[in-house]
């Protein structure tokens, strides 16, 4: 009887042992989040700029172009898909002013940005057809506001060969449109 009792006791303990031998010693939880593709561009500070041509004060002299305006900064944020191509920024104007060229150049990026910032094309003459001013933008951000991103230099220049097209006018507004796109 004692032997039977002892064997029963042993089996009971072994049974408990089996349970504990297979007790769970690991477990897990998941972490997840999604980062979307992003394409944002804007000009800082907001508002218009003025380029006032200077009339000659001596007969025989041409109209004088004003100093280039460097008050605007181009900011952008870009996130690209895995394996996706780079992006570029174009600029175009709403209309041309007869007898004048409006020129634009973007400086190299500076400020508090990071990532794969774009490369400036250099100076272009703006037209109603969009032209690339910055290319090779990857996942990047320029920083927000003035002194961040690409400083723009915008100028208006009389076209000597089209001088006959120049007419007196006031407050002629030209809108410059900037667009960021995937290649």
């Amino acid at each position: 009887m004692k032997i039977v009792f002892n064997i029963t006791l042993l089996l009971s303990i072994l049974s408990i042992s089996d349970v504990t031998l297979f007790a769970q010693t690991t477990g897990s939880k998941n972490v997840s989040f999604a980062l979307p593709e992003i394409s944002f561009v804007d000009i800082e500070p907001s508002g218009s700029l003025s380029l006032s041509l200077i009339a000659p004060n001596e007969a025989g002299n041409p109209i004088v172009a004003p100093a280039a305006n460097k008050s605007k900064w181009l900011n952008y944020t870009s996130a690209i898909q895995t394996g996706g191509g780079t992006k570029h920024i174009t600029a175009s104007i709403s209309s041309k002013i007869p007898g004048f060229d409006i020129k634009l150049s973007a400086a190299a990026a500076s400020g508090s940005g990071g990532g794969t910032l774009g490369t400036s094309t250099g100076q272009i003459t703006l037209s109603t057809t969009a032209q690339t001013i910055i290319s090779g933008i990857g996942g990047a951000y320029t920083g927000d506001g003035t002194n961040n991103g690409h400083q723009l230099t915008i100028s208006i220049v009389p076209i000597v060969s089209s001088y006959s097209l120049i007419k007196a006018q006031s407050n002629t507004q030209v809108q410059i449109t900037y667009t960021i796109s995937a290649n």
């Binding site: 004692k2 504990t20 997840s32 989040f33 999604a34 800082e44 898909q81 990047a140 927000d144």
Partner: protein, 170 residues
């Protein structure tokens, strides 16, 4: 004869005790409760800006239940992460123990991980769990997660990983 029977009983008792001692080294257990963490970085609404980049879960995102062995035990809880399915090495995941749990836990203690510990793909010890009573269970040991390195510089994608916890004897 009586002596021989007693001797067998003593042998049996000794065997049982040995079995219990053996079991005491492997009988700790753990369950991982709480919730998966779905991080929601606020959308960027202004050109030039990046994500804030660092996000923290609620204090009790993950709740661990720890059970000690039959006999006295010194154990530790470790953790690592596994990409699930996509992770980026620039993303850093850290974990913090925000309390010592609840339940009847006489003469037992949890120590460590009261500051953030960065997780890797290999196990790293988070905290120690020491028990002085039989089959001690501590419930709801709260764990907080932090992810950093979230940036537009990373490719746009859905990122995920699995945080794996393990309890082991010291």
């Amino acid at each position: 004869m009586k002596y021989r029977m007693c001797h067998k009983q003593i042998q049996l008792i000794a065997f049982i005790l040995l079995l219990l001692i053996y079991k005491s080294g492997i009988a700790q257990s753990m369950s991982v409760g709480g919730n998966n963490w779905s991080v929601s970085p606020p959308a960027i609404t202004e050109a030039g800006k990046n994500y804030v980049g660092i996000y923290e879960s609620p204090d009790n995102q993950i709740l661990l239940t720890l059970t000690g062995p039959l006999l006295l035990g010194n154990m530790h809880v470790s953790a690592h992460y596994e990409a699930n399915p996509l992770w980026d090495n620039n993303l850093k995941l850290s974990i913090l123990r925000t309390n010592s749990g609840t339940g009847l836990c006489l003469l037992c203690s949890l120590s460590g991980n009261e500051n953030y510990i960065q997780l890797n793909t290999t196990d790293i010890t988070l905290f120690n769990f020491t028990t002085a009573a039989l089959l001690t269970t501590v419930n709801n040991v709260a764990m907080k997660l932090k992810v950093s390195g979230v940036s537009v510089v990373l490719p746009a994608a859905t990122y995920g990983c699995k945080v794996v916890f393990t309890i082991s004897p010291n």
